[in-house]
């Protein structure tokens, strides 16, 4: 797991983006960028050499689950590790996200420890 990896944080609430950004910085990840919707995030991912995506579910334009599917369907992006951080807590949704290929799922409200553990777990599995 490379602390310099480029991470994209996607959430329609700037407060949450700021919280996640700060938590990532505390964990040593300072190379972060932000998007406020799946719709703005997708072109950024396509053009930007990101190594990791952290996204919310509920967003007005393109939702997180739609973004997840779009990334998995894109030849160049399909292997990108993706962590969902969301208030959505229905079992059906968790299963749906897992089946669509999400690598980790964190429900809000969450702690810094949980975020750290999930990120580490993702990169253990992905192998670096």
């Amino acid at each position: 797991m490379n602390k310099d990896m480029k991470i994209l944080i996607v959430d329609d609430f700037s407060t949450m983006r700021r919280i996640i950004k700060n938590l990532l910085r505390d964990l040593g990840f300072t190379n972060t960028a932000e998007a406020d919707d799946g719709a703005t995030a997708l072109p950024m991912l396509q053009n930007g050499n990101f190594d990791f995506l952290v996204t919310d579910w509920n967003m007005p334009g393109m939702t997180g689950i739609e973004l997840l599917r779009a990334v998995r369907a894109d030849a160049r992006l399909k292997n990108m590790p993706i962590l969902m951080v969301t208030a959505e807590a229905k079992r059906d949704q968790i299963i749906e996200a897992a089946q669509a290929g999400v690598n980790g799922y964190v429900v809000k409200p969450f702690t810094a420890a949980v975020l750290k553990e999930k990120i580490e777990k993702i990169f253990e599995r992905v192998g670096g």
């Binding site: 700037s14 407060t15 700021r18 509920n58 968790i94 964190v106 429900v107």
Partner: protein, 263 residues
């Protein structure tokens, strides 16, 4: 507000119908076919009149119920805002206020953390020097430096702690959003309840009109089936997770669910 809940027309119409029915029977018994035909026509007219009367009452009731909704009607003292617009504005205000409180708090935290760290580091460094002094490892020049460092540190700690104190107070005050947004949200809750009551009333009025005019819509009574598309319906944060069995109640549940499925 609609008062007439009866299914029968009013008493005088009822009596009128009975009278005309008696006239009809009389004519029939007299063998007066022409008279009977007229009597039948008069009976129909009386019935129709009563229907028109009732429909008139009901449409007036409908009209009143809609007017009471205040949709599109400006609120007192505000030129362009209906109650609905007002509710939307209020909720926007809540988003705004909570957002700025959160930003303010985070600003204070982001400024405070490095300050606290610096106090800590200086204290640790000073302590090491002090330990050396106690072990008699210091020469007079170093002692003079220590003399100044202590003074400097005490000034820095006093000043820094004062700043941290101010930041804590600012954070405390930033929580005022809870009270302000709470009040605003209460107002919106009461508006929503009002809208619900009006809707129920409208439904009742509409139901009565349908009964009176004999309109029966097929398939109306069937329950609305939720069409499940590709994505399950997103519900936002769960407020009563314990009372539902289709919802997880914490990160541990999420992890268990995923690992039980092999993810």
């Amino acid at each position: 507000m609609l008062v007439n809940n009866q299914e029968k027309p009013s008493d005088d119409v009822w009596d009128d119908l009975k009278d005309r029915a008696r006239t009809l029977i009389q004519k029939l018994e007299d063998g007066d076919f022409k008279g009977a035909s007229s009597a039948i026509e008069e009976l129909n007219e009386a019935r129709d009149r009563s229907i028109y009367l009732e429909v008139g009452k009901l449409t007036r009731g409908l009209h009143d119920a809609i007017v009471n909704f205040d949709i599109g009607q400006p609120m007192e003292g505000e030129e362009d805002a209906s109650k609905m617009t007002n509710a939307q504005d209020r909720l926007d205000y809540v988003i705004q206020l909570t957002g700025s409180s959160a930003d303010k708090t985070m600003d204070m935290v982001e400024e405070g953390i490095p300050l606290a760290s610096e106090i800590k580091e200086k204290a640790i460094a000073l302590r090491e020097d002090w330990a050396r002094l106690l072990r008699r490892e210091m020469n007079p020049d170093e002692f003079r430096e220590l003399y100044h460092s202590i003074d400097e540190f005490l000034g820095f700690a006093a000043d820094g702690s004062g700043q941290l104190n101010d930041k804590f107070n600012t954070i405390l005050l930033a929580q005022d959003f809870q009270d302000l947004t709470g009040q605003v949200i209460k107002k919106v809750i009461s508006l929503v309840q009002e809208v619900e009551e009006r809707l129920v009333e409208l439904m009742r009025v509409a139901g009565q009109i349908e009964e009176l005019t004999g309109i029966v819509r097929s398939g109306d009574r069937t329950e609305k089936r939720l069409v499940k598309g590709l994505d399950s319906e997103a519900e936002g944060p769960q407020i009563n997770a314990e009372n539902r069995d289709d919802v997880v109640s914490g990160q541990d549940n999420v992890d268990d669910l995923l690992s039980s499925l092999g993810f």
